[in-house]
Symmetry: C2
Subunit: 327 residues, 2 copies
């Protein structure tokens, strides 16, 4: 399999991308190849700093680069030679099986939607992000692709999340919870109340009811469904709190100093390097990373991409959402 | 001043209430009196466990108790002799200046609205909660009273938050930020986009623009405005994450082990005992506490109530929101 990696995405590109790709190729199975997409001379200069570059690392030249100033929806027209547009086009043309980028999230989402297209039956592809919990991580969906949602969109998110956690992450009969501000049915916003009723009646989803903000971190839910506004606020807040606490702890402590009781704290710590949230519901694999991704985060995002390809994520999603009624 | 304290609110009532009230009366200025509202025999039995009970501690008998099973809106009719209804009525009748309760949040809010009434010009009273940050705490408003909001409601929250942080907390020219999923104007949900435009044009508010979930914890904003759905999810999520990390740290470390770099971590720790969020925009002082409040949290909530009374919070709010146009 070939994974196209946007080499110009992170704030310090292409250094973390090149280092992460090399690390990945050394660790992953030998059928994985990585194509660095970006300005060839810049990438070559970065590669020259590394010894023993694996020969499964390729370069595909894309001279232009998306910046934070580019309006996401206009990138496809205005920057056709950017690493984001070129990298996604490789997948569309069959020259790559997946795309990974730490570039502008909005631009990657918009260009992915345009290039890979929503799957039949999916109105709103959504970002699924794994949040660390005391137990297994839970998939928060939507983490920011769709701000104003209707109840049936959230039902689609539930299907996309179920399929991903089952087929790609290997969870059996994944539980789906609705993020709300009370546990009883009938609680919450109009959106939440209507979504509850739809989810309770929806076949193919193991719906376990409402949960509150405080219930996430305790674990026990495979998929947590919410609109992209709430999901994005929550995710960014969490990252900042975790990042802050963890950076302070890092300065003060080393791992040998703390016992198993701190395991969760260090899982949160490692989360900073988990990197890589799939855009679910499109006809391809597009993995979105943080702009501040480290080489380890890039490697982990490449692993997410490889797992999605190997598990035939797109095929399973297309099958599972086909039956979803769209109102 | 007299503060009516719901003695039957916490999960372990009346133990934390009685202990917290006694502690408060020992520490506060001598013009503060506390009225324990609840079942008199139960309160007397608890008081008997304490030596030297201050004589500024009174009891007002209320035989009934609100439970989690009571529908919030029906409490006023169905449980007229409950500690929540009786305690708020004391304030309405002028026998108390403030009410503090750790009972069912929904019931306290609904009964406060009914008994104390919204101030003229306020459609939706809102809960303002102080969140610890790296700098000064910020007031998150609405933290859960109103789930489906219109833009002009959020403008009212901005006024209520500004007045409270300025007049009661003593912040000069408090900055107001809109919680959103992007920083530029025009970003976010329909609600956020419209609210941004209204806030930017609203006199009497020091509006500093959009902030994202990740910007809260760094401090620098006095008031963060959002609808009660987002606010409640965020608040509960934060409390759970902070609680978890901090309880693990507590087990592993003591304060002597850690240096000043950890100051923020311990501020988060102490936050668990901050207790007491005012319901802003009603014609009285109603302070909402956690069901799991400790004696220290109860004492702190009584301090919040005393500060609100002393700063004439209601008078300032009534003046500041009077000019707000309600669409």
């Amino acid at each position: 399999m070939r994974i196209a990696l946007d080499a110009m995405g992170t704030d310090r590109a292409p250094e973390p991308e090149v280092a992460g790709a090399i690390e990945a190729l050394r660790k992953f199975e030998s059928d994985v190849e990585v194509v660095l997409v970006g300005d060839e001379p810049t990438i070559r200069a970065e590669l020259a700093k590394h010894a023993d570059v694996p020969d499964r690392l390729h370069i595909h030249h894309a001279p232009d680069r998306v910046t934070a100033d580019d309006a996401p929806a206009s990138v496809i027209r205005r920057k056709p030679h950017s690493s984001v547009v070129v990298g996604l086009r490789l997948q569309k043309e069959g020259a790559a099986d997946a795309f990974v980028s730490a570039g502008s999230t909005g631009a990657v989402m918009a260009t992915s939607l345009f290039t890979l297209k929503p799957l039949p039956g999916v109105d709103r592809p959504a970002v699924g992000t794994l949040l660390p919990t005391v137990g297994e991580p839970c998939l928060l969906i939507d983490a920011g692709a769709n701000v104003d949602c209707k109840p049936h969109h959230l039902v689609q998110f539930a299907h996309l999340g179920s399929t991903y956690t089952r087929n790609t992450l290997g969870r059996e009969n994944p539980s789906v919870a609705l993020l709300n501000i009370g546990e009883e049915p009938g609680k919450g916003s109009e959106l939440a109340v209507e979504t509850y009723d739809l989810l309770a009646a929806e076949p193919g989803i193991n719906f376990v009811g409402n949960i509150e903000g405080r219930d996430i971190i305790g674990g026990g839910y495979d998929v947590v469904v919410c609109d992209g506004f709430v999901g994005n606020v929550l995710l960014k807040f969490y990252e900042s709190v975790a990042g802050l606490i963890v950076s302070r702890l890092h300065k003060e402590l080393d791992r040998s100093q703390v016992s198993e009781g701190m395991e969760f704290v260090f899982r949160v710590l490692d989360y900073a390097e988990t990197g890589g949230a799939p855009l679910l519901g499109v006809g391809g694999v597009s993995i979105i990373c943080h702009g501040e991704s480290t080489p380890k985060a890039i490697m982990n995002a490449l692993a997410v991409a490889a797992r999605a390809v190997r598990s035939e994520m797109v095929k399973h999603s297309a099958r599972d959402v086909k039956g979803v009624e769209v109102s």
